[in-house]
Symmetry: C2
Subunit: 184 residues, 2 copies
DNA sequence: TTGATTAGGAAACAATCATTCCCTATTATC
DNA sequence: GATAATAGGGAATGATTGTTTCCTAATCAA
């Protein structure tokens, strides 16, 4: 079932919600029409499940990137680098389902909007936590405003996905090098 | 005709391309079905025209925001502030047609993708120009990497539109205050 | 082995979509 | 003032959509 959901994630990321037909879904999930409707109430429910799956996978990837840092500053640096890498290449062209949901659905779909804002706030408080950790271990100055900087970095990461989907090249080292000035 | 296009811009921004039906378009443009197809070849052509109109209006707004600054740094600061303001409130909830096109269409529509990348690059070189202007007039240090910083700021502005569409509150003064560290 | 229950697949369905066609005013031309 | 030309409007059309229904095959219990 998770492998079928991964297929749904892939096609929803690439085409978005409305441009993905049930035919696209059945092909990507390797399931027949009836089977999809036996497992999910409707297309919207498939999307919600794909959203949750995507969020769980990305959360794990981000946490593990952070874990490779020795202090708060390095952990945050690794998170940003990970975001740039995931916003590039074939995965970048495919796109992020959170950004896609925010842009395509959040205006008219309160259920999706709630998931999107929850996801953004979760990521934001994770970043704010890393900043405070860095301030505690001495790798980030205390005068850095954790909450404001975290919100700015969320904007940055979401923007990376937009620019990456448009296929502009992103140099991780250079971009993150500049972004780390925000922690000065 | 421009007033009809403004209606198309409004509905395309809010709902995106695929979720906007011809009925939505005719209502927003105050034109009947046949009239729309007399003025444009098809829905795709309406979208392209709306995109161009949106880009022209936004370009003017951004240039005029920059013009209110006394030096390069202030001009850039005003541009960022203008972006935050436009990403907030009712206009922020409505969304940006460039971001929407990048996320919803650029993966499978080469024509739209070309317009999106052209728009992003134009904005990016405008920002890079402001940075160089600031370095010339002494308001921005010379060690700032103009191109890398400009690309990062483009990511930031696009991300602001994503976050704003998800209706997270954005404090212009605080966010831009943090972002200006990038020019240190 | 037999019977019952479930997962999976394909065709049929109703609704909605983008598009076309034709009709009616209105304007401009001679 | 009559006629040609054009802009605008709304109903009809064919294709595509999401959804349902029914059938087949597989799995498990007794």
């Amino acid at each position: 079932m998770d492998t079928a959901l991964d297929g749904a994630v892939r096609v929803f990321c690439e085409r978005g919600y409305h441009a993905t037909s049930i035919g696209d879904l059945t092909a990507a999930m390797r399931l027949a029409t009836g089977s999809v409707y036996k497992a999910f109430r409707d297309k919207h429910a498939v999307f919600l499940a794909a959203f949750e799956r995507y969020a769980a996978v990305r959360r794990e990837q981000t946490r593990s990137a952070a874990a490779r840092g020795a202090n708060g500053r390095e952990q945050l640096c690794n998170v940003l680098l990970s975001y740039v890498e995931h916003s590039q290449g074939s995965e970048g062209r495919r796109g992020c389902i959170v950004v896609g949901s925010a842009v395509e659905l959040s205006a008219l779909d309160p259920v999706i909007r709630a998931r999107v804002t929850a996801q953004l706030k979760s990521n934001e408080s994770f970043i704010a936590g890393l900043i405070r950790e860095g301030q505690a271990d001495g790798s980030i100055p205390h005068h850095v405003e954790a909450d404001d900087t975290a919100r700015l970095m969320i904007c940055l990461t979401q923007g990376l996905r937009v620019v990456g989907k448009a296929r502009l090249p992103l140099d991780g080292e250079r971009l993150v090098g500049v972004a780390m000035k925000l922690l000065a």
